[in-house]
């Protein structure tokens, strides 16, 4: 009996080691699958963009045989029919994206301050109101939205798109900000008020700095929502002057003979801003998403 425990342990040790090796091997294999899964469509974008004709899909190439940067050069100089307005289209997309981000952050933080901190109403009342936005899917709401924008005389105006995208970005923003605001002790506000700070000062000097990570997360969500959108930009903006990149990309899709290398070059450049923002703010986004972690 006295010899049994050490014997048993000795017998199990190689077993443990084997198991650890197996776990590491399995996680390495899973890691490899994740990399391939995540990167194949991205690789395909480069494969098409670097091809001189843009029609390499029909040859079954899996490697760029004659890579060239022609498509990017054409994009840079606007040196082809299909890309002659590309930079003004980029300007439009960026303008809309930045406005959506700024307005979502401002409107969301003001509303969450009034309700979450000043307790104008109960949290759930605001959350439930915001969720009403989800009752009709956004792809259906576009049609009444179009009519309503006509009544507001905002058709073919970037602000129509900005309004629509802010509308769909704010419910989620309010959800996140209200949850996040709960984590900050109310006594901070009260102490500042006793020291003579005005409501505006509490909002600007105490509330905003403390919820900065959540604001970064919410702002990135808003700009990604704007970058993901196509339907509203397509429907609400008609004139060439206001066309955005997402709509321009779709026009390539409609045309069978379109130079797809240009399309993929545009797609790659169009993908850069959200990726840059995302990776620049990654730390804050992670904090904004996780700090409110009161699961239950």
């Amino acid at each position: 009996m006295s010899a049994a425990p050490p014997l048993k342990r000795r017998a199990r040790r190689p077993n443990y080691r084997l198991r650890r090796v197996l776990v590491e091997a399995a996680s390495a294999a899973l890691g490899a699958v994740v990399v391939v899964w995540s990167l194949i469509p991205v690789y395909n974008m480069f494969l098409v963009a670097l091809d001189p004709t843009g029609h390499n899909e029909f040859t079954g190439e899996i490697w760029p045989l004659h890579p060239t940067l022609d498509s990017f050069v054409a994009l840079w100089t606007e040196g082809a029919d299909d890309v002659e307005h590309i930079w003004s289209q980029f300007g439009n997309s960026i303008y809309i994206g930045i406005m959506v981000m700024a307005l979502t952050v401002v409107i969301g933080s003001l509303a969450s301050f009034a309700v979450g901190r000043m307790r104008l109403a109960q949290d759930w009342a605001l959350t439930n109101t915001a969720l009403v936005t989800y009752v009709i899917p956004s792809s259906t709401l576009i049609i009444p939205f179009f009519r309503v924008m006509h009544i507001y005389r905002l058709l073919d105006n970037p602000w129509a798109v900005i309004a629509a995208e802010v509308t769909f970005a704010t419910p989620y923003a309010i959800l996140v900000l209200l949850q996040y605001a709960k984590l900050i002790p109310v006594e901070l506000d009260e102490a500042a008020r006793i020291d003579g700070a005005s409501v505006a000062q509490v909002y600007l000097r105490i509330y905003l700095p403390l919820i900065a990570p959540a604001l970064a997360a919410v702002g990135s969500f808003a700009i990604l929502l704007s970058w993901n959108d196509y339907f509203y930009q397509y429907m609400l903006l008609m004139s060439e002057k206001h066309t955005t990149v997402a709509v321009a990309l779709e026009q390539f899709f409609d045309d069978d003979d379109a130079p797809w290398n240009y399309m993929m070059a545009i797609a790659i450049v169009y993908s850069l801003p959200p990726i840059a923002i995302f990776y620049a703010l990654r730390r804050y986004i992670a904090a904004g998403l996780t700090k409110g972690g009161v699961t239950g």
Partner: protein, 304 residues
């Protein structure tokens, strides 16, 4: 003046983060301030939520629209496809996110680096990403995926968009590719919020990794998982991009979902009323989901 708010709590000032008071009354300037802070959102809500929703309900209020809709075989196909899409794409995505969030919890440097790559599809805009999927699949069995299949396994890929179910499957996979990273990140946040001592205690009691997952992770993550699934279902219902750009509804309307069918009704057939009706026919599904979400969010504290 500025002290009124504090005094008005009537002595019982709650300290710490216990029950944060019954409602304190807001007086005078504080009340005006808080109203002013809420005005921008109220304005957006009235002008761009209430009015368009009301307008939409009015546009789709004629019962004959629905008779026309149900008589259209394209609608039946799209409705079935929508249910398939929601059931398969959302659940597969959430399940994958649950498992992968566990993988990304492993304390390894290379796994942290891997997360950065894994998040890429979420940061990539929808239109280019789905167009890339389309071009990978479409081109007469010669796209990148077919090329890889023939080089690696020596098999010729199928004609991806020749059959409705295969085209829909391609859309579903593209959707999962794009959105699984977001929900993985959210569930990862939920997992990180679980106190590690719970796992240590369970391990001390001899619980196997499987039992730790079932008895610690699952109950603590259940609410967040449910809420994420509901939000994701609501979003997926309105998401036209994977179907519109990957399969385009090919072949012959057989892989459309309700959101893209509405698009066709409105633009190709110039019948916006019917398009709105097609969207509103999803209300019996969406309203219970939104109500469930409201109840869940008001009773439980969740992180998103």
């Amino acid at each position: 003046m500025s002290g009124t708010q504090v005094v008005a709590t009537g002595g019982a000032v709650p300290f710490g983060r216990g029950r944060p008071s019954k409602r304190r009354r807001l007086y005078g300037s504080d009340f005006i301030w808080s109203i002013a802070f809420l005005v921008p959102y109220a304005a957006v809500f009235a002008a761009f939520v209430i009015y368009p929703i009301g307008y939409g309900l009015w546009m789709g209020s004629n019962p004959s629209l629905y008779a026309e809709l149900f008589a259209d075989p394209r609608y039946t196909t799209a409705a079935i496809n929508t249910l398939l899409f929601l059931a398969l794409a959302v659940n597969a995505q959430m399940l994958g996110a649950l498992l992968l969030s566990g993988f990304f919890m492993r304390p390894r440097r290379w796994i942290k680096a891997l997360l950065v790559i894994y998040i890429l599809p979420w940061a990539l805009p929808a239109v280019p990403a789905f167009l890339s999927f389309h071009w990978m699949l479409v081109a007469d069995r010669q796209g990148l995926l077919d090329g890889l299949l023939s080089v690696l396994f020596g098999v010729e890929g199928p004609d991806w968009f020749a059959q409705g179910w295969l085209a829909l499957a391609c859309d579903i996979v593209s959707y999962i590719w794009k959105w699984m990273p977001l929900w993985t990140l959210i569930l990862l946040g939920g997992r990180m919020a679980i106190p590690p001592d719970l796992y240590e205690a369970a391990e001390m009691d001899g619980a196997s990794p499987y039992r730790r997952f079932v008895h610690v992770t699952v109950p603590l993550l259940a609410n967040l998982y449910l809420i994420s699934t509901v939000i994701s279902t609501i979003w997926a219902f309105g998401d036209y991009a994977p179907v519109l750009f990957v399969s385009g509804g090919a072949p012959a309307f057989s892989s459309n979902v309700l959101s893209t069918l509405g698009f066709r009704y409105a633009l190709d057939f110039a019948d916006p009323q019917l398009a709105v009706a097609a969207g509103l026919s999803g209300l019996p599904l969406l309203i219970p989901l939104v109500v469930l979400l409201m109840r869940r969010l008001s009773t439980a504290e969740v992180q998103l």
